[in-house]
């Protein structure tokens, strides 16, 4: 079996949520891959499944959700086949995660030093008290004053400081992959810039890969090497950041880029007509076809596979259907 990514290779991932409204097919064949030390941006709008993808990779999908199909190969291990106990040895140790709302991710009644210590204690199997010297080092590394923060409770920290603590906690065990789910969306732009800089600096120092989940194209452009664009539970386009912004191939990616306002841009913004589909009853064929300006007959019936149409540039769209060669992964 040939893997597209040496560190992480997700293929055919399907996740559904069983609700009173019906079955929500949140992920329907997601493809995703990463090399060691790489920064992958996973972008898309509300409901495209970017957060669910990250939770599924960590095997954190809870009832009423269920991983129904797919493979997640991380660091040589097939994660979906591991026992819960084996998974505990991966989760938080080889792979960790930080979330959008740093304040609600920290335990409000435990001191910050203790919370970071817990992660180290678990991975090194030692008492929490003995991890404190290391915790101090980590706090320094993320730009906080250990004397002030060690014995603070989360409510005594600002949003930016809490996110620094979360990053410290995530990287305390020297994981190979840090998944950051909208890590700066709740923060102000000046604090966002500080946090992105910190993630960048630490990734260089520690050599971990970062999967950055975001809806902000600006953040992607500044931080990521590679980008996977998602739409309604599908992976629709993958390329290097430069290539993707320069020559977006999928009509959705193109539309998304034209809709983004930026400083220095005063021409009319171009909106994508229509709205994101309801995943209880997703459109047939390509899920983007009802909104696509270049829709063809085949799009309404068949789902285009994610194909490599140029070296390193993958797209799931019949506009490029004939040129693509299927990259086998089974």
């Amino acid at each position: 079996m040939e893997l597209r990514g040496k560190l992480l290779d997700v293929s055919g991932l399907k996740v559904s949520f069983y609700t009173y409204r019906g079955v929500i097919k949140a992920l329907d064949g997601v493809e995703l891959w990463m090399d060691s030390g790489e920064r992958l941006g996973v972008v898309g709008e509300t409901g495209c499944g970017k957060s669910v993808t990250s939770l599924a990779v960590m095997r954190l999908i809870e009832q009423p959700g269920e991983i129904q199909a797919g493979k997640v190969i991380f660091n040589g291990k097939s994660l979906l086949e591991l026992s819960e106990e084996e998974m505990n040895g991966v989760r938080g140790i080889e792979m960790s995660m930080i979330f959008q709302e740093p304040r609600s991710s920290l335990n409000p009644v435990m001191k910050v030093g203790y919370q970071i210590g817990e992660a180290i204690a678990k991975s090194k199997k030692m008492p929490i008290k003995k991890t404190y010297p290391e915790v101090r080092e980590i706090l320094k590394l993320v730009g906080l004053d250990p004397e002030r923060v060690m014995n603070s409770y989360p409510h005594e920290l600002s949003g930016g400081m809490s996110q620094r603590v979360m990053i410290g906690m995530g990287l305390a065990t020297h994981p190979k992959l840090l998944i950051a789910d909208e890590p700066t969306s709740a923060l102000d732009v000046t604090i966002q810039a500080q946090i992105l800089e910190l993630l960048d600096e630490l990734a260089r120092k520690m050599g971990n890969a970062v999967m950055l989940i975001t809806h902000d194209m600006g953040v992607v452009a500044e931080f990521c090497d590679k980008v996977m664009v998602m739409y309604a539970g599908n992976s629709v386009e993958y390329a290097s950041t430069f290539e993707l912004f320069e020559r977006p191939l999928h009509p959705y990616t193109g539309g998304l880029l034209l809709a983004v306002p930026r400083v220095g841009r005063t021409d009319e913004l171009k909106a994508i007509k229509g709205t994101v589909p309801d995943l209880v009853d997703p459109p047939s064929g390509c899920r983007f076809h009802p909104r696509c300006p270049r829709v063809m007959e085949i799009c309404k019936e068949n789902r285009p596979p994610l194909l490599q149409v140029e070296p390193g540039h993958f797209v799931a769209c019949y506009l490029y259907g004939n040129k693509g060669e299927v990259k086998e992964n089974a």
Binding site: E45, T46, S158, G160, M161, D188, V189, T190, I191, Q192, A193, Q194, L196, E197, H215, D216, M217, G218, V219, V220, A221, E222, T241, F242, F245, E246, G255, L256, L257, L258, A259, V260, P261, R262, V263, G264, R265, T266, E268, L269, K270, A271, I272, T275, V276
Partner: protein, 321 residues
Amino acid sequence: MPDTLIKIENLKTYFPVKKSIFSKKLFVRAVDDVTMEIPRGSTFAVVGESGSGKTTLARSVLRLIEPTSGKIFFDGSEILKLKGKDLLDVRRKMQIVFQDPYNSLHPRKLIKNIIGEGMKIHFKITESEIKDKISAVLKEVGLRDEHMFRYPHEFSGGQRQRIAFARAIVLKPKFIVLDEPTSALDVSVQAMVLKMLKDIRSQEGLTYMFITHNLSLVDYIADRVAVMYVGEVVEMGEKNTVFNHPSHPYTDLLMASNPIPDPKFQREKRLLKGEIPSSINPPSGCRFHNRCPHADQKCASQAPELSEHKPGHFVRCHYPL
């Protein structure tokens, strides 16, 4: 002399905070001595980070929060002194669209009642006239007649924001405060809503105060901009002047922190250190001095005034860039 619709003079809005009964009275100085003029028919953007006082300013201007002191003139009349019928009349002319369209529409009212309620209060008109107006305004914001008989939960975020906007413009106001109207929306939807706002402004000759934390939006929609920091306006002027030549160090660093959606654009890394101070006990002197790369002794002790750096370009800094 440009025709001014809104004139704000030395506006202060303070909120008392309770400490212990022994400590002296403390205040959150949410809006602290703000003076600005909004020309008729323009879009005036107010930019700032959380806690800068931009939303409190907007609500004070509409008297949704009673300001502590200062003067606000709307079309020449001082609205803080208005009462009764005069106030009601001004209220009709000044409308607001809130940030979160999921909380700003009554969940158990039909769209026609949400939009029509204001007309029943302000106009003496019959039910059928109301219905005609609702149907016209729905069309204007890009919705259809049949949407009148639906409830808010049946609409997407972008559609709800259109309804909130329809509710505002149906009263034929002159001035609308848009408080982060698109920050709860996805970019592809945001683009449509912004375009609608821009089109309707020019059709109806409206004046907007556009509150946002997103500098990229300002460049798209605004004519003039005021940058706020801890309750004060630190820089104000024509959008192009402020964006091309940011003269307050805060504006400069704020612009440098704004991510640019273009990987070719390699900008110099300039970070704004530290965090936003509390507006209960703001730093002495210039409120930005403890984070400013150019600050010296004078900045720490003496508060700078908002002064005209160049014609029409106001900066609150001892050493403008």
